[in-house]
Amino acid sequence: MKKGYLGVDVGSISTKGVIIDSDNNIIAEDYLWTEGNPVVAVKQLLKNLLVKTRNKDLLVVAVGTTGSARKLVGTILNAQVIKNEITAQAIGTLELYPEVRTIFEIGGQDSKIILIENGIIVDYAMNTLCAAGTGSFLSSQAKRLGMHPEDFGKWAIRSKKPTKIAARCTVFAESDLVHKAQIGHKKEDIIAGLCRSVVLNFLNNVGKGKNIKPPIVFQGGVSKNIGVVKAFADITGEEIKVHKYGHLTGAFGVALLAKRANDEHCFDFNFVNMHFETKGIECMKCPNNCEIICVYKNNKIIDSWGNRCDNGAVLKQ
């Protein structure tokens, strides 16, 4: 029986999972929409992974979680490693491209740049108060233009003269886009312009002041959009590498971390049949009203968090 290591990355828009073997090869992967319900998404993800590994004689011995729902999912999966997505993605990418110097990452609602020297992270930045130019913006604009987000890239690379679209802010970009469409710009030019504006926005905000050096790897859901990849290459003047698992690097990285944690116990796929429930309660013991999240497994509380002080500690039964 082979040992496997599971990495789960639950983001705002999509949920990703991979299982790697002891040689760091990805033996199973899956990608689906979170749709606002991380617990259900993870259950579905594990069902799919189970189907994909059925005949492979595999025993999952370590679990790592990352992404914005890492704590919740990590608790219910009883994960060995719960890691932020920045570290996880850097670790994952370094395994795929050991010589990488710069990582661009654009996900559903976040974007980040990670700088690497000699295989270690030396600097990073993440979008702050604004999610302009991320995947969810692109997909909403795709809907506005009446197409699937997947087709966006194909349209974009057809364009010879990308339309200039205001890059600063999603709201302005959107009104500019409508304006450009109404005065008669071609659809492919507008789409290419939109891809350019995403890139400019990224480089001006997240990448501002950062020393961008090749080799550059671009990943995250948006890296599947060839229009944005082309725009990155045009604007930076460098080759942009996109891996076929570019959308899975977070999950891959955290699987690697789980493997390195050296704390192995058999993971029970029976998890998919268990009943998990989360309840949010307000503490009400002071005006801060901390929102405390309690996680129940088969109606038994397993963990809680969110309280600022001990007054709000929920008793574990």
């Binding site: 997505e85 295989g119 990073y124 993440m126 501002k208 020393n211 005006p287």
Partner: protein
């Protein structure tokens, strides 16, 4: 100004409510109530009645004022400074009057200089019988008190991450905060400080010599008030990091013209002239941290704080020249704590990885 039966209140800033209340109680001949501890409700109320785009300390201050007025305060004190802070008093007074509150509003900084004589003049208006020598004595007293607080805070920041018994630092600090309010004279204050200094030194810690060191710079309010920065200091310390924050209230209060020049010397060659409010200070301190070999710096500002935005290009340059990462955090009323924690965690991982090679 006849203020019989008046009740005074003031906005929060970290734990400085202790010396401020102490000072006001002894000099102003009126009842003093501390604002309620800052909670989400404070920020909600403050944000509700503030202009949306104003920097976040305004919203906290206004929330404190409203909560104090509802508790029965009738005299409010506000300071000012060399940025938007200079307009806080006027705008907040107008907002509170429009809401229908009756109160006396005192600006201890009428022009943009926060000096000792200015403060005396303003306080004299509230309490005409205020004696200058007594004022100087208590002023000195609360500076000593604030410095004691700051010294202890600094020790806590530097060492609490390595405590052997979980929570021991927090517990002792709270005890200290409770007792410092009760001292009667400078001798008692000094003895109390020494006693607690010894007690803190005795708390067992398990601190490696080459632990990770992180400096905190940035805008004064958000850097000092832990609620407003999602407890950056303690969150970072908890991971086993020595945290140093040089931004303190006494440094700002006691800054002389010469110190401003010194800051520019320290910030050389990154700055040739002052860039407003605490921006110069942030650049100078970041450079000091870099020279002292800190592993990283966290730069904290309210969203859209102009002086700190001015400082950022220089910080980026320092970060590049000294190969020291800087994490930039902006805070406003909408800041999600989860986002801040994710960034801190990644920052810590990065520093650790960087150190490991």
């Amino acid at each position: 100004m006849a203020l019989k039966g008046a009740v005074l209140s003031f906005p929060h800033l970290g734990d400085y409510h202790v010396p401020i209340a102490y000072f006001a109680k002894r000099l102003l001949n009126m009842k003093v109530i501390k604002p309620l501890p800052i909670t989400k409700k404070t920020l909600e109320i403050g944000a509700k009645y503030s202009p949306d785009s104003v920097c976040v300390p305004f919203k906290y201050n206004l929330g404190n004022f409203i909560e104090s007025l509802d508790q029965g305060a009738s005299v409010l004190i506000q300071a000012g400074g060399g940025c938007r802070f200079g307009y806080y008093a006027e705008v907040q007074e107008q907002i509170l009057r429009d809401l229908g509150y009756k109160f006396t509003f005192i600006r201890i900084v009428s022009n943009d200089k926060l000096t000792v004589t200015n403060i005396y003049r303003q306080l004299k208006q509230i309490n005409p019988r205020l004696n200058f020598f007594l004022f100087i004595y208590y002023f000195y007293f609360i500076i000593r008190m604030s410095k004691s607080l700051e010294n202890i805070q600094q020790y806590v920041n530097k060492n609490s991450g390595f405590e052997v018994e979980k929570g021991s630092f927090g517990l002792l600090y709270n005890k200290f905060l409770g007792e410092i309010e009760l001292v009667n004279n400078i001798g008692e204050l000094n003895r109390l400080f020494l006693r607690y200094q010894r007690a803190f030194n005795k708390l067992p810690i398990n601190k490696p010599v080459d632990c990770l060191k992180v400096g905190i710079v940035g805008e004064v309010y958000v850097a000092i008030e832990p609620f407003s920065n999602c407890y950056v200091e303690s969150q970072m310390a908890k991971k086993g990091v020595e945290v140093t924050r040089l931004v303190t209230a006494t440094r700002i209060l006691l800054r002389r013209p010469k110190d401003h020049r010194d800051l520019l010397v320290k910030a050389h060659p990154y700055l040739k002239y002052a860039i407003g409010a605490d921006g110069t200070d942030s650049v100078a301190k970041t450079k000091v941290f870099a020279e002292e070999g800190y592993d990283g710096v966290i730069h904290i500002k309210p969203f859209a704080c102009i002086p700190e935005l001015n400082a950022m290009p220089m910080l980026q340059k320092i970060s590049h020249d000294y190969n020291m990462p800087i994490l930039y955090l902006s805070f406003d009323a909408q800041t999600s704590e989860a986002g801040v924690l994710t960034r801190l965690e990644a920052f810590y991982d990065m520093l650790l990885m960087k150190r490991g090679h």
